[in-house]
C-alpha cells in the first residue's frame, strides 16, 4: 500500500490533472458533434442555395434531376443543382409515420402486458425476445424482407387487376410501402417496448394501489394511472424510435423499391403496394457519385435534412417531457 501511495498522490495522477484530462476529452467529443453539424450544413449549402425552398417541393422527375446533376459534373464546368425532393420526403413521411404509429400502439400493449399482466413465465420469455429483436442487424431484416416478404406481397397480396390498373405508371412487384412499414415496425417496436416498460415499472406503487383500492380493475388502473404517469418514458421511447426510423437507410434501400415515386393515398388502398424511396436510401444508392461536387452537395443536403429532422424530433420530445415533469419519479 505504502509503495504506491506516492504514485497516487504524485503529479501524474493528481485529481486536478485527471479532471482536466477528462474534461478535455469531453470537450473534444462535444466539439466533434459541432464539427459534424457544421460540416454537413456547409457541404449541403450549394444545393440549398441553388434550390431555395423549392428543394422541398415537388416538380419534375427526381431520377432525371439526379442524372442531370451527375452529368453536369462530367461534361462542363457549370454544375447543375436543381433538385426537388418531395417524392423522397413524402416516402420518408409515409414509411416513418406508418411504422411509428403501428409500433407505438403495439409497443404500448406489449409493455403493459410484460409489466402488469403477463404470467411470470411469459414475461421471462418476452423480455429476451424483445432484446433479441432489437439487436438483429438491419441488413438481416432487409434480407428477409427482400427474399420472403416482398415476393409474398408481390405474388399473393397484389392482384393482377391492381397490377394492370397502374401498369403505365409504375410496376407493382412487391417492393412496396407495405413491406417497408411492416419490417420497420418490427425493427423499432422493440426499442419502444424496452423504454416503455422501464417507465411503467417506475410508476409509484402508491398511485396504482390508490386506484385499485377505489375498486377500479387492474386493466383500467394500468391504462389510466400507469400508462398516463409513464408518459415521459413513452415520449422518450417514441422520439428514439422516430430517429431510428428516419435514419434507417440500408434496410429501406433493400425493400422500399428504390423508385423516386410518391404514392398517393387518394388513389385508394393500392398506394400501400406502390414502391417509393425515402431520403436515407437515396444516399446509400448514390454513394458512388460522392466525388462529383454537385452530387456531393445534393447528398449532403439530404443528410442535412435528416439531421435537422432528427434534431427537431428530439427537441419536441424534450419540450413534451418538460411539460410532464410532475410525472417524473424522484
Amino acid at each position: 500500500m505504502n509503495e504506491d501511495l506516492p504514485q497516487e498522490y504524485g503529479p501524474k495522477w493528481s485529481d486536478q490533472r485527471v479532471e482536466r484530462m477528462l474534461g478535455a476529452l469531453v470537450c473534444g467529443v462535444v466539439a466533434l458533434l459541432l464539427a459534424l453539424i457544421v460540416t454537413v450544413f456547409v457541404h449541403a449549402w450549394p444545393s440549398f442555395a441553388h434550390n431555395g425552398l423549392a428543394w422541398f417541393s415537388a416538380g419534375g422527375d427526381v431520377e432525371e434531376q439526379l442524372n442531370a446533376i451527375s452529368l453536369s459534373a462530367q461534361t462542363s464546368g457549370d454544375y447543375i443543382y436543381t433538385f426537388h425532393a418531395w417524392p423522397l420526403i413524402w416516402s420518408t413521411m409515409l414509411i416513418t409515420g406508418g411504422a411509428v404509429l403501428i409500433a407505438l400502439v403495439s409497443a404500448l400493449f406489449v409493455s403493459v402486458f410484460i409489466v402488469e399482466f403477463a404470467p411470470e413465465w411469459m414475461s421471462n420469455i418476452l423480455q429476451p425476445v424483445i432484446r433479441f429483436l432489437a439487436s438483429v442487424p438491419s441488413v438481416i431484416y432487409g434480407l428477409l424482407g427482400v427474399l420472403v416478404l416482398v415476393p409474398f406481397i408481390g405474388n399473393h397480396l397484389v392482384t393482377e387487376g391492381q397490377k394492370a390498373s397502374v401498369a403505365g405508371v409504375i410496376s407493382l412487384t412487391g417492393y412496396s410501402l407495405l413491406a417497408a412499414i411492416l419490417v420497420l415496425t418490427v425493427m423499432i417496436a422493440p426499442l419502444m417496448v424496452s423504454i416503455f416498460s422501464d417507465g411503467l415499472r417506475a410508476v409509484k406503487p402508491g398511485w396504482i394501489e390508490g386506484s385499485l383500492g377505489l375498486g377500479i380493475n387492474r386493466w383500467r388502473t394500468t391504462w389510466k394511472i400507469g400508462v398516463r404517469s409513464a408518459r415521459p418514458a413513452i415520449v422518450a421511447g417514441t422520439v428514439l424510435a422516430v430517429a431510428r426510423a428516419i435514419g434507417e437507410a440500408v434496410m429501406l434501400a433493400m425493400i422500399s423499391g428504390s423508385v423516386a415515386f410518391a404514392p398517393n393515398p387518394a388513389d385508394g388502398l393500392i398506394f400501400i403496394y406502390e414502391p417509393s424511396r425515402p431520403l436515407g436510401p437515396t444516399i446509400v444508392k448514390n454513394i458512388d457519385q460522392l466525388s462529383s461536387p454537385p452530387f456531393n452537395a445534393t447528398l449532403f443536403s439530404i443528410a442535412a435534412v435528416l439531421l435537422f429532422s432528427a434534431a427537431m424530433f428530439s427537441l419536441a420530445g424534450w419540450l413534451a417531457r418538460r411539460s410532464m415533469r410532475k410525472y417524473l419519479m424522484p
Binding site: 497516487e8 474534461g23 467529443v29 406489449v110 411469459m122 427474399l147 410508476v203 386493466w219 432528427a310
Partner: protein, 341 residues
C-alpha cells in the same frame, strides 16, 4: 501506479446482499394483487386478449427469424465459405466464400470497441464523478443523446469528409495528393461513435448505483478521487462496463451504412502497397458480413441469395452469442449483488 495492482489487490466493495429478483421496488404489491379478468367488462377483456396476441406475435416473429435463417443457413452454409475469399464468377459455385467479410467484421469490431470503450468509460466517469462546470455536464449529456440520435448514414458522410482530408491521408490509401478516404481506420472510427452512447449510458448507470458511502470510505483512507475511481468504482461496475461494451459491439457488427460508405464497395481486402503488415490491411478498403449480405441480396450488386443467407446466418449467430453473453454477465452480476436492479 505501474505495477501496483499486482502488489496489492484492488479494494473491492463487499457484496451488497442481492436485491430480491422478484421484488423490484413497487412491483410486488401489484403482482400480489391477483385479480382474474372474469369480472372485467368485455372491452377490458378484449384489450387483454390483444396484449396476449401481440406478445405471442412478437415471440412468433423472433422464432420465425431464427428458425428460417437456421434452416437456410444449414442448407447453404458450407464450411469452406468461412476460409475462402470472395472471387469473381458467374455462378454461386464459382464465387468463393466470404472469409474476407468475416475477418473484416472481426477487425472492425475490435478496432471500433478499442476506440469507443476507453472514451465511453472516461466520459461516464467525468459525468458522474466530476461533472463540473454543471453547464458543460449538461451539454455533454445532450451531446451523447444527440450522437445516439444521428442516423448512421449521416455519420458516414461526415466520415468521408474527415478521412478524405489530406491531413489524415496516412489512415487510408492516397495517390498523388488525392486521399481515398475509405479504410478500416475510417470505418472503425465512425462506428465507435455508434457504440459510444450505449457504453456511456451503461457505465453511468453502474457508477450511479454505487452508494455514496463507498466513495467516502475510500476518501477517508486517503485515496484521491482518481485512485478511488480506478481502484474501486470501475472494478465494482465491471458488469456494466462489459454490458455496455457488448451492446456497443452488437451495434458495430450490425451497422451497414457506415461500412458501405467508408470501407469500400469491394468484397476482398485491398491492402495498400508498401506499408508494414497490419497497417497495409487497415489502411486499405475491405468488407464486412453486413456489407456482404447487402451486396449479395437480390437488390445488391452480386445477387447471390444463397450466400447472403449463409452470411446472414453467421452474422445472426454472432448477435445471438453477444445476447447470451449480456445475459450471463447480467445474471452473474445479480448473484454477486453488484447489479443495481
Amino acid at each position: 501506479m505501474r505495477d501496483a495492482s499486482t502488489q496489492d489487490p484492488p479494494l473491492t466493495v463487499p457484496p451488497v446482499p442481492p436485491p430480491d429478483q422478484h421484488d423490484p421496488p413497487g412491483a410486488h404489491q401489484r403482482k400480489g394483487a391477483v385479480e382474474g379478468s372474469a369480472t372485467w367488462s368485455l372491452s377490458d377483456r378484449i384489450g387483454l386478449a390483444i396484449c396476449w396476441a401481440l406478445g405471442l406475435l412478437f415471440c412468433a416473429i423472433a422464432v420465425a427469424i431464427v428458425v428460417y435463417l437456421l434452416v437456410q443457413g444449414i442448407k447453404f452454409l458450407r464450411p469452406e465459405m468461412l476460409w475462402t475469399p470472395a472471387a469473381a464468377g458467374f455462378s454461386e459455385t464459382e464465387t468463393g466464400g466470404f472469409s474476407d467479410a468475416l475477418f473484416g467484421t472481426l477487425i472492425v469490431a475490435a478496432m471500433g470497441i478499442a476506440i469507443a470503450l476507453p472514451i465511453g468509460v472516461a466520459i461516464a466517469v467525468w459525468l458522474v464523478e466530476y461533472g463540473r462546470p454543471t453547464a458543460l455536464a449538461r451539454v455533454t449529456e445532450s451531446t451523447i443523446e444527440a450522437i445516439a440520435g444521428i442516423p448512421s448514414i449521416v455519420l458516414a458522410l461526415f466520415g468521408t469528409v474527415i478521412f478524405s482530408s489530406t491531413a489524415l491521408g496516412f489512415l487510408s490509401r492516397s495517390s498523388e495528393g488525392v486521399v481515398f478516404g475509405r479504410s478500416f481506420f475510417a470505418a472503425a472510427t465512425m462506428l465507435s461513435l455508434v457504440a459510444l452512447p450505449l457504453i456511456v449510458a451503461s457505465v453511468r448507470e453502474g457508477l450511479n448505483s454505487i452508494p455514496r458511502h463507498v466513495r467516502e470510505a475510500s476518501y477517508a483512507v486517503g485515496k484521491t478521487k482518481a485512485a478511488t475511481t480506478r481502484r474501486i468504482l470501475l472494478p465494482t461496475c465491471r458488469p456494466q462496463v462489459a454490458t455496455g461494451a457488448m451492446l456497443g459491439l452488437g451495434r458495430i457488427i450490425g451497422d451497414t451504412a457506415i461500412i458501405v460508405v467508408l470501407l469500400g464497395a469491394t468484397q476482398n481486402f485491398a491492402p495498400v502497397e508498401g506499408v508494414g503488415f497490419p497497417f497495409n490491411y487497415l489502411r486499405g478498403a475491405g468488407t464486412t458480413l453486413t456489407n456482404f449480405v447487402y451486396e449479395a441480396s437480390p437488390t445488391g450488386n452480386l445477387n447471390q441469395p444463397q450466400k447472403a443467407y449463409a452470411a446472414a446466418f453467421v452474422l445472426l449467430l454472432m448477435v445471438l452469442a453477444l445476447n447470451a453473453a449480456v445475459d450471463i454477465v447480467h445474471r452473474r452480476a445479480r448473484k454477486v449483488g453488484t447489479w443495481s436492479h
